[in-house]
Symmetry: C2
DNA sequence: ATGAGTGCAAATAGTTTGCAAGCTG
DNA sequence: CAGCTTGCAAACTATTTGCACTCAT
């Protein structure tokens, strides 16, 4: 089991969430790829009969609330999730055609906060995804 | 009819798209608000019997391809559209609770392009939305 | 007049909810 | 053993598609 998964499990415990076989498997599935995955995709990546698709949805939602995964969106609106790694917040560059992704470190968190706080907003979060055609598909 | 709508109509013609009553009404509906609106919301903002909801979906999609509207996403994945104004590209700060929005000028287009081009990506686009609680809701 | 655009009905994708049974802490 | 979790079925929301008809160019 990877470090990231262990940390995630620990985080779940700290938040008072229960650690079940299903949840461990879902975290493992998220850990074994760099690309953010949708609930369906995460579910498909699981060994057969690990859990129900609904459970994948529910766990991913819980994981996000607990802060162990990050949520993004595809160009079509599908929600995608990826395990928070030790580097914390980052974004993705996703190929519109083949779906492959690259991690990009660049994040304007600070500028955003600044602008939003200027409007008196609190509890900020943001979604940012970059789409394009990768070298192989372009 | 506002300037923005006139420009949009002109742009449609240039792209070889037809200018119908429905399309004009949809553009008007988009023009009369600062907030990005979903297809459903745009449709509801239309005078009764202007067109079918499906038409709103189809037109907004066409408008985006033609470059006369910009598309964003809500936190829940819903697609939203807003008319491109003379200032061009911008982003929004949306209140998670009441849904009100503020326009924010800040956009990291250049940094993004740079990073993405570094990976060999082409035909870039990006989605960026900031969510929070507005002063009244926070 | 010709094909883009539209309306209506129906299909689809993604996600959420209700409820009874199961398992974790 | 309390109540968080899960599974199964079903509801729902947002969006897309097929097809015949209409209208802008």
């Amino acid at each position: 089991m990877s470090d990231d998964v262990m940390h995630a499990i620990e985080a779940l415990r700290e938040k008072g969430l229960r650690v079940t076989e299903q949840r461990k498997a879902i975290l493992e599935a998220l850990a074994c790829t760099d690309s953010p995955r949708s609930a369906e995709e995460t579910f498909s990546a699981l060994p057969a009969d690990t859990c129900d698709l609904v459970t994948a949805y529910r766990c991913l939602e819980q994981f996000e609330k607990a802060g162990v995964v990050e949520r993004g969106v595809r160009e079509n609106g599908t929600k995608v999730y990826c395990l928070k790694d030790e580097h914390g917040h980052h974004h993705h560059l996703t190929c519109r055609k083949c779906g492959c992704t690259e991690k990009i470190d660049l994040c304007m968190g600070d500028e955003l906060e600044e602008a939003a706080v200027g409007f008196g907003y609190t509890e900020l979060s943001h979604v940012m995804e970059v789409f394009g055609l990768c070298p192989s598909c372009g």
